[in-house]
Structures are given as structure tokens and as C-alpha cells.
């Protein structure tokens, strides 16, 4: 039993790809060992930005033997009448390398045949691994690959060394022009040159001596603990941005945090968002917040190296931070000389998505769409004015020096500059909020103008992109339209904006001045994209497929309403009366359908009810159902109008007993055609009462 080490030493891999590469390597190794019949106790991976390694414990010295049964000639030709083997049997045994005596007769493939049990002896593990390990390396995939030499192999970054050891022995092979061996590479500056491994067991110890912290959890611990205690030392706490922390964990082999400071006057002069973005995104430092939550003029950088000459490193980082913040100050001054009018004019020269004109054109369409949306929703005059103003200004910051340098501050700078220039706070807030949510689960607009602008901006983007032929397909969504569609859903729901998505996209598509039929088709596809996202979001919440399908099959594409109906139906389905109600509904619908009539939609059910003639009601159960339905229907209708769908469903559930009694005792298909028509009308009325909530015909089982 020996330990196996495979370490692939690369030039710095993309930090975002290392964890996935390790995962792939681990699971591919387990599968490959099983496939190769190599006994292994456990498999684990370790890695950094410069190396990915897989370690297998307890590798058996040999591959397991393989026993297989090989079919030979038919039994009747293999033995003569006396039962002695014929030439056919002897030849077969020789070819399989077994003795004639060991041949057996077996029932196989519908006949009796001679069979040989052939034992293939397992090869030594090291021989097997020569073939397995290169294939393992080749199986690791990266989001983006490269070539670096004539051999044409593709990988995340160039492979420079391969360590392959089974116990003390090298597993010899070549991959990507690199021969496997026992020499690894230590940390770029802390290592001592030759990182030679006597055996696989010494991997962690040797790498430790070589300054490489192999375990990502240990690297994370060093960064978090170090940053926290350094920040504490200057009276604050580090802002541990998750994305930054992960990037550092996977881009540094030997993390050593250090604290630095900068001129408080710079921190005063610059908006805190600018300071944080400069530190986090551009410098990869943690910003430090003081007790009150305000930023301290300090940062925590994480060096890839040891504590030697840390003062010199600190001086360097402090010098660079000062230069970057002074740079930002310069952008701020430059922008102070400009203004929204000039910026808006410049938007005419900034391209929107190909084929859709300039950002300025986009803004005009958003202004139109937002105005329509506000009118459709009956928004008050003050908020409509704020919305109109914000819509006009919402993209202006794209051409400011600050946003050109820090694109992640789009919207934020818009808010800051709007406030600077005396715009109303609601306008400034809407400018920033219209980019929200930035991703799935991101913060949503807090103000109504912000929410309406967020919807209008995305509606125009989606409709226009579809008109330009840029619809997402498969995993390809280069313009983020699915994300935009999900954003529309979240904002509509959060702010309870009861607008039909069909109407919304009709309006958005009409902004492009294309022929009506093209606009209508684009609107239809845009609304479908939003419905797809809504469906996915509801299913993510744990609603059954058929619940979602049933509520989306009726109504006008009003997102918050669909969400409410989905929730009510989902809750109702766990109640015992659901099963009986479903049975009653389905029986009613089936009989009505067989008679050739149709179940009316919600708005028609009253007429259907009116079609029931009381004078033709004969049976008590028929009368009971009619009475129960009549008293329930108007209340159901009221509950649906109030969008109290839970109440509506409870009321309908109250009909299950009269319906059951009706089916038990009343013959719907009565000989008298008038009576028959009347009973069918009653059932249609009953089924029609469901139509304001969901299409119960789509609900498959009363789960």
C-alpha cells in the first residue's frame, strides 16, 4: 500500500478556475482508478494558483485480476460421442491459454457451448498509472484554454513541471512536453530552488518548507485572521468582501497580510464608494471600517510571501495607494467641470448593443417606456416627475471620467453627481437603483421611481436585443438578457407592480420604430423570456411544475398576481380537501367536454351561471349543488378580485361535498334534453369558478 502523488505545476492559473480544476481532478481520479481496477483507500486534492495536486492513499501495489468467460465452439462439436475433446475444443483452449480440462459447458446465448474462464493477471500499479495519469491531466477542463508550445496541448496556463510519485518511485510519463519526475517548484520567492521529493508521503512537509501553503482553508484562515487582527490594531475591522477573499485565497501561495495607511485628507475628499472600489477591485486590498462604520484611511494588503522586508513592501503599497487615490481625485475634479447636459450629449457617441443605436437612443426609449409604465400603474404626479427626470439622466455617468475608469461605479457616481448638482434626492436614488438587482438575489430598488426605471430599462434592453437578433440560446447569453428578465420579475414582485408583461413589452418594442408585426413578434418573445424566468424562479421556491403551469395558464401576465396565485395553490395542495376537489373538478370537466361544451373562462362564468334554469332543477342534490355554488361563486369572485386566493380556494373546497353528492345521485346525461343541458350548465358554472385562479386541468395529481 503506497501513497500516490500527482502534482501539476503551472504558471499562475486563473484564480477563479483552480477550485473547479481540483474538483475535476479529484473526481476524475476516483473514476479512473476504479476503471483501471486499482484499489485506493481515499483520494484528496490540494492546490494553489500555481499547482493542482491529487493524492491517493493506500494504492494497492497491483491492479486487481480480471476473470472473464469466453465462449467457444458449440458443445456438440467440442466433444465426440465418447465425451473426449475434439480438435475444436483443443484449439480453443490453446488460443485462450487454458487447459482443455478446465473447459466447461455452459448454456449461453440460447445454446450449449464450451466456455473458458480466462484470468487476466493485474499489472503492477506503476505500469497502469503510466497510462492513467496523463489521461487524468488531459481530462481537466478550464473555462478558457491556451496553447503555449508546438505540441498543441491546451490547458489553463502552461504546465512547467509534473511530479508523479507512487511511494518512492516515479511514475514515468510525458505530457505537454514535460517529463514526470520528483522535482516540484517551491514558492517563487520563499522556495529554495530544488524542491525534490524523496517520496509521495513527504509532499506536504516539503511544500511547507518551500513556503507553499497547500490547503486553501489554511490560506483563508491566515488571510481572515491576519486582516482582522491588523485592522483591530488600528481601531477598525476589515471589510471582508467575499469575492476578493476568494480571489486572494486562490491567487496567493503564501499569504501574509500587512496593514498600510493613506492620507486622511484623500479619504475625506473622495466618496467612500470610490475609495472602496479603488482598494478592493483595483488594488485587491481590504478596506477598513472604523467603529462608526465610516472608512478609516487604512487598508490591509495581502502579500504573497513571508514577513521579510515587510516594511519595504508596506511602503510600496502605500505609495501606490496614494497614487491611485490621487488619480481618482483627478477624475473627480475633471468631472466637476462637466455636467449632465454635456454628458447626455456625449451619450450619442456611445454604442449601445450592436444594431440598437447609441446609448442616447436607448435613453429616449426608456423615457418613453417609463412614462407609459407610470401612467399604466396610476403613479402620482410627483413620483412621475422624478421618474421622468431620472430616466433622462440615468446613463449620463457612463461618459464621466470616474465611471470610464471604474465601470463598477456606474449608477453610484450618477447618484453622487446628481446630488452634487442639486437634483432631487428621489431622482438621484432612482439613477443608482435602476441598475439593481445587479445579480440574482442582489439588492432591489427601494424607491418606486427606481423600481419603475429598473423595469423600463430592462424591458427596452430585452425587446431591442430580440429585435437585433441577440436572443439567448442554450448556455449562451452574452448580453445578459436572462439576468435582465429575472431582474424584471424580482422588481415587479417586490414593488407589487401589477402590469401585464405582454403590455409592457408591446410598449417597449414599439419604441424602436419597426413595422408593427416585427414589434409584436419581438414583444411576444420578450414576454416569453420573462415568463421562462418567472417559471424558473417559482420552481426554485419549491412550487411543483404543474402548480406553476396551472397559475401561468390563466390571467394577464401580471407577475405579482401570478406569484400570489402560485403561493395560494401551492399551500392549498397540501390540504386534504384538495384531492376531493380535484376529483370533482375533473369529473365535471370531463362530462362537460364529452358533451361538446366548453368550460368558460372566469369572466364568463356568471353568464354560464345565468344559463342554469332553476325551474328545471329536479333532484335535491342538484338543488343543493346549485345553491352551494351560487352562494360560493360571488364570494369566490370577490376574493379573486381582492386577490385573496387562499380564501377563494377554501370557498371552492367547501363545494366538494355537494359536488360529490351530485355525482352520486344525479344522472347528468338525463333523457330530457332540457334537463341535460341544465345539468351541464351547472357543471360548467362550477368549473368556471376556478378560472380566476388557475387552470386546474393542468394540475396533474393532488399532491
Amino acid at each position: 500500500m503506497a501513497r500516490l502523488l500527482l502534482e501539476i505545476v503551472c504558471e499562475e492559473l486563473p484564480p477563479g478556475a483552480v477550485a473547479s480544476a481540483l474538483e475535476q481532478l479529484g473526481s476524475a481520479a476516483e473514476a479512473a482508478f476504479a476503471e483501471a481496477r486499482l484499489g485506493v483507500k481515499s483520494v484528496k486534492t490540494l492546490g494553489t494558483v500555481r499547482r493542482i495536486a491529487v493524492l491517493a492513499e493506500g494504492v494497492s501495489p497491483r491492479q486487481a485480476d480480471r476473470v472473464s468467460t469466453v465462449r467457444g465452439p458449440a458443445a456438440r462439436v467440442a466433444y465426440d460421442a465418447a465425451g473426449a475433446p475434439t480438435q475444436a475444443a483443443i484449439g480453443f483452449a490453446r488460443a485462450q491459454g487454458v487447459s482443455v480440462d478446465s473447459l466447461q459447458i455452459r448454456e449461453m446465448d440460447g445454446g450449449r457451448y464450451v466456455a473458458a474462464e480466462v484470468r487476466e493477471q493485474g499489472r503492477p500499479a506503476i505500469r497502469v498509472l503510466e497510462g492513467v495519469l496523463p489521461a487524468l491531466i488531459a481530462s481537466v477542463s478550464f473555462p478558457k484554454t491556451m496553447r503555449w508550445e508546438a505540441h498543441g496541448v491546451r490547458f489553463g496556463r502552461p504546465i512547467r513541471r509534473i511530479v508523479a510519485l507512487l511511494g518512492r518511485r516515479v511514475v514515468p510519463f510525458s505530457y505537454a512536453g514535460v517529463r514526470s519526475g520528483r522535482r516540484s517548484a517551491g514558492h517563487r520567492f520563499l522556495g529554495t530552488g530544488l524542491a525534490t521529493l524523496p517520496d509521495a508521503d513527504s509532499y506536504e512537509a516539503v511544500m511547507d518548507q518551500q513556503g507553499v501553503v497547500l490547503d486553501p482553508a489554511r490560506r483563508r484562515g491566515r488571510i481572515v485572521e491576519g486582516a482582522t487582527s491588523l485592522a483591530f490594531g488600528i481601531g477598525g475591522s476589515p471589510i471582508l468582501d467575499r469575492a476578493l477573499l476568494e480571489e486572494l485565497v486562490w491567487s496567493i501561495e503564501h499569504p501574509t497580510p500587512l496593514a498600510g495607511s493613506f492620507d486622511p485628507a484623500l479619504a475625506e475628499a473622495l466618496p467612500s464608494e470610490v475609495v472602496v472600489v479603488t482598494l478592493q477591485h483595483h488594488q485587491k486590498y481590504f478596506a477598513v471600517a472604523g467603529g462608526s462604520g465610516a472608512l478609516l484611511p487604512a487598508f490591509v494588503a495581502v502579500r504573497d510571501g513571508g514577513v521579510e522586508h515587510l516594511d519595504s513592501v508596506r511602503t510600496g503599497h502605500e505609495w501606490v495607494v496614494r497614487a491611485r487615490l490621487a488619480d481618482a481625485q483627478f477624475f473627480l475634479d475633471e468631472d466637476r467641470r462637466g455636467g449632465f447636459d454635456a454628458w447626455c450629449e456625449d451619450l450619442g457617441r456611445v454604442a449601445q448593443i450592436s444594431g440598437l443605436g447609441s446609448v442616447s437612443d436607448h435613453v429616449l426609449r426608456v423615457v418613453g417606456c417609463a412614462g407609459w409604465l407610470a401612467a399604466a400603474l396610476g403613479v402620482g404626479a410627483a413620483e412621475r416627475n422624478d421618474l421622468a427626470r431620472a430616466a433622462r439622466l440615468c446613463k449620463a455617468d457612463l461618459v464621466t471620467a470616474m465611471v470610464r475608469e471604474f465601470p463598477e461605479l456606474q449608477g453610484t457616481m450618477g447618484r453622487i453627481y446628481a446630488l452634487d448638482r442639486g437634483e432631487r434626492p428621489a431622482v438621484a436614488a432612482a439613477i443608482e437603483e435602476h441598475y439593481w438587482p445587479k445579480g440574482s438575489g442582489g439588492r432591489l430598488p427601494a424607491t418606486l421611481p427606481g423600481a419603475l426605471l429598473a423595469v423600463a430599462d430592462r424591458a427596452v434592453l430585452i425587446a431591442g436585443s430580440i429585435l437585433a437578433g441577440l436572443e439567448p440560446s442554450g448556455s449562451q447569453d452574452p448580453y445578459g438578457l436572462r439576468r435582465a428578465a429575472a431582474g424584471v420579475v424580482s422588481v415587479l414582485e417586490e414593488h407589487n407592480l401589477g402590469v401585464s408583461v405582454d403590455a409592457l413589452f408591446s410598449r417597449a418594442a414599439s419604441e424602436f420604430g419597426v413595422p408593427e408585426s416585427r414589434a409584436a413578434e419581438a414583444a411576444r418573445r420578450a414576454a416569453e423570456l420573462v415568463r421562462q424566468r418567472l417559471r424558473a424562479i417559482l420552481i426554485d421556491r419549491g412550487y411543483a411544475y404543474d402548480t406553476v403551469a396551472a397559475v401561468m395558464a390563466v390571467g394577464s401576465g401580471d407577475v405579482p398576481d401570478i406569484v400570489r396565485r402560485a403561493r395560494a395553490l401551492h399551500d392549498f395542495r397540501s390540504r386534504p380537501e384538495m384531492a376531493r376537489l380535484m376529483t370533482a373538478y375533473q369529473r365535471a370537466v370531463r362530462i362537460v367536454a364529452q358533451s361538446g361544451a366548453v368550460v368558460p373562462a372566469a369572466e364568463e362564468s356568471l353568464d354560464a351561471g345565468a344559463a342554469v334554469r332553476e325551474d328545471l332543477i329536479a333532484e335535491p342534490a342538484e338543488q343543493a349543488l346549485y345553491d352551494a355554488w351560487r352562494s360560493a361563486d360571488s364570494v369566490v369572485r370577490g376574493a379573486v378580485a381582492r386577490r385573496d386566493y387562499a380564501a377563494a380556494l377554501s370557498l371552492l373546497a367547501g363545494l366538494d361535498a355537494p359536488v360529490a353528492a351530485f355525482f352520486d345521485t344525479v344522472l347528468v346525461m338525463a333523457p330530457d334534453p332540457l334537463v341535460r343541458q341544465n345539468r351541464l350548465a351547472l357543471l360548467r358554472s362550477f368549473a368556471g369558478s376556478f378560472g380566476g385562479i388557475a387552470d386546474f386541468g393542468v394540475v396533474t395529481s393532488p399532491s
Binding site: 520567492f189 496567493i252 503599497h317
Partner: protein, 300 residues
């Protein structure tokens, strides 16, 4: 315990890099004498990266980006800056170590600093070119773009080159600890500002105020037409002059852009026209190389 060392002045950086890379077999070329936006456009990079022949070169390339002009008022932004460009084709296996040694050769004691290779993929859509690599950071300062070319002119490369592009001003400011680029010591007793400030002022004013869009457009059309005409000539024998015309187009586009004279649709169109020419030059250059090889074989 700070180690002190003498910071190289600006011109000593050129000289030190020349000596270092010449010692590793690089041809030391001169800057290209047609305006370019980046050292990559020098024929010694764009064209020599094509084809199967090994090549090593180092040169300083003044690079013009009209839109970055700030009239010499911003301590960090320049209309024209200097790149030190190295091409190693094929990329040697120890290229990162060679690069780090070149930094030591500039007087940097690496153990006193924090050197990081941070993922950064490079793309130049107007050249149909892209590569993967890193930005190299020195104590948080970006000092070099380090790229393995994958495609040039839309063509997969036969032999992968590595490109090192040192940002000389940034590196110099770090070494000399100067807050403004104009305070850099260029030569003993001479500052960067004395050498270049007036040029920044005049060219920024030209780019933003005084250039004539009509003239620039006319020149763009003329150079484009000439590039096409030259590429028609048999055996690709005029591909190098044609490529010069493409560089002119590229720079004229940058000037029009800085002037705010390019609308959205036109911007896409002009970039597309430039890219098409760059690709045509790459194809013609390879055709020419293949022709030369055939001739060599016939002679041999």
C-alpha cells in the same frame, strides 16, 4: 530594515532592458516610425508573430492614445507613453524567471517587494488578435502586461510567442518614487516634463480641438484604398507598405474618436474596416513567407 538602492533614471531603464534582452538573444529594434497605439502594432510584433520562424526582439515603442491626452495636467495620464516591448518566439519554458531577472536588472530587489502575476487576458479586436496571460503587479502597481499570443489577424498561430510589455512611466515613477510622471528624471538633470510636457499640451489640444475631422476622414479613406491597392499586387510583394497604411488608418480612427467625430454606427464600421485590412495583411504576410520558403527550397 530598508535596503537602499539607486533608482535608475528613465533612459537608464531603456538601456538596462536593451542590454538584458540583447544578452538573451533579442534583436534590439528601433521604435516603429508610423504612429501606433501600442507596441503590439510594430511589424516586429504583429507580423513576426505570424508564421513558423523563431524570433526574439526588444524595442522601446512610443504609443499614442489621443483619447487619453490630458494637456499635460494629469500626473498619470498621457497622450503618448513609452512601452518596452519584448517578443520571445517560441516562448521559453523559463520565461517568467527571465522576466523577473529583468526586473532585478532594473535595480529591484525582489525579496523587498510583492510581485504578483494576476490573470488578465488581452484582446485587440481591431487586429483580430488575442492572447492569455497576466498583468504583473509590483506592490499593487501594474507594471507589465504579459501575454501568450493565441491569434493574430484572426489566424491561429503556428508558434506561440510571449509578449512582455513594460509600462515604463509607471515603473519609473515607482522606482523613483515620483507622484507625477512629469517629475521623473529622464537623464541626469533633465525631467520627463522638460522633454515631453509641451508635446502633451499641443497634441492634446490637437486631438480634442484642432484636428479637422474632414481631413482625417479623407486620409482614412485614402490610406484604406491604398492598402487595398497594395494588397492586390502580386505575390504579396507590397504587404509591408500596405501594413503601414493600416497603421495609419488605425491612428486616424483614434484621432477621429478623440475628436468626438465618430458616431456609433460609424465607429463600428470604421473598426470593422480596419480589422478587415489587418487580417488581409496577416494573410498576405503568410503567403509571402510561404513564397520565400518555396524559393529557398528551389535554390537549395
Amino acid at each position: 530594515m530598508l535596503r537602499t538602492r539607486r533608482a535608475a533614471n528613465f533612459q537608464e531603464m531603456f538601456l538596462a532592458l536593451h542590454r538584458f534582452w540583447a544578452g538573451l538573444g533579442c534583436v534590439i529594434e528601433a521604435p516603429y516610425d508610423v504612429e501606433v497605439g501600442a507596441g503590439t502594432l510594430h511589424p516586429a510584433t504583429f507580423l513576426k508573430a505570424l508564421g513558423p520562424k523563431p524570433w526574439r526582439v526588444g524595442y522601446v515603442q512610443p504609443s499614442r492614445r489621443p483619447v487619453d491626452g490630458r494637456y499635460g495636467e494629469n500626473p498619470n495620464r498621457l497622450y503618448k507613453h513609452y512601452q518596452y516591448q519584448v517578443i520571445l518566439k517560441p516562448a521559453p519554458a523559463d520565461v517568467q524567471d527571465l522576466y523577473l531577472r529583468s526586473l532585478e536588472n532594473l535595480g529591484l530587489d525582489l525579496v523587498c517587494h510583492d510581485i504578483r502575476f494576476l490573470e488578465d487576458d488581452w484582446e485587440a479586436p481591431t487586429l483580430g488578435a488575442w492572447g492569455v496571460g497576466w498583468q504583473v503587479f509590483l506592490d499593487g502597481q501594474e507594471i507589465t502586461q504579459f501575454t501568450y499570443f493565441q491569434q493574430m489577424g484572426g489566424l491561429d498561430l503556428d508558434l506561440i510567442s510571449v509578449e512582455l510589455t513594460y509600462g515604463l512611466e509607471r515603473l519609473g515613477m515607482f522606482l523613483q518614487r515620483k507622484a507625477s510622471v512629469f517629475d521623473l528624471e529622464w537623464a541626469p538633470g533633465v525631467t520627463y516634463g522638460e522633454v515631453r510636457h509641451e508635446e502633451e499640451r499641443q497634441h492634446s489640444a490637437y486631438g480634442f480641438e484642432h484636428s479637422d475631422p474632414g481631413t482625417l476622414r479623407g486620409l482614412f479613406d485614402a490610406y484604406e484604398a491604398d492598402a487595398r491597392r497594395l494588397l492586390e499586387i502580386s505575390d504579396a510583394s507590397q504587404v509591408l507598405p500596405a501594413y503601414d497604411c493600416v497603421l495609419k488608418c488605425s491612428h486616424l480612427f483614434n484621432l477621429l474618436d478623440a475628436r468626438g467625430a465618430v458616431g456609433v454606427a460609424q465607429r463600428v464600421e470604421l473598426m470593422g474596416r480596419t480589422r478587415a485590412l489587418a487580417k488581409a495583411c496577416a494573410v498576405a504576410y503568410l503567403e509571402r513567407l510561404a513564397g520565400d520558403d518555396a524559393e529557398d527550397e528551389a535554390r537549395g
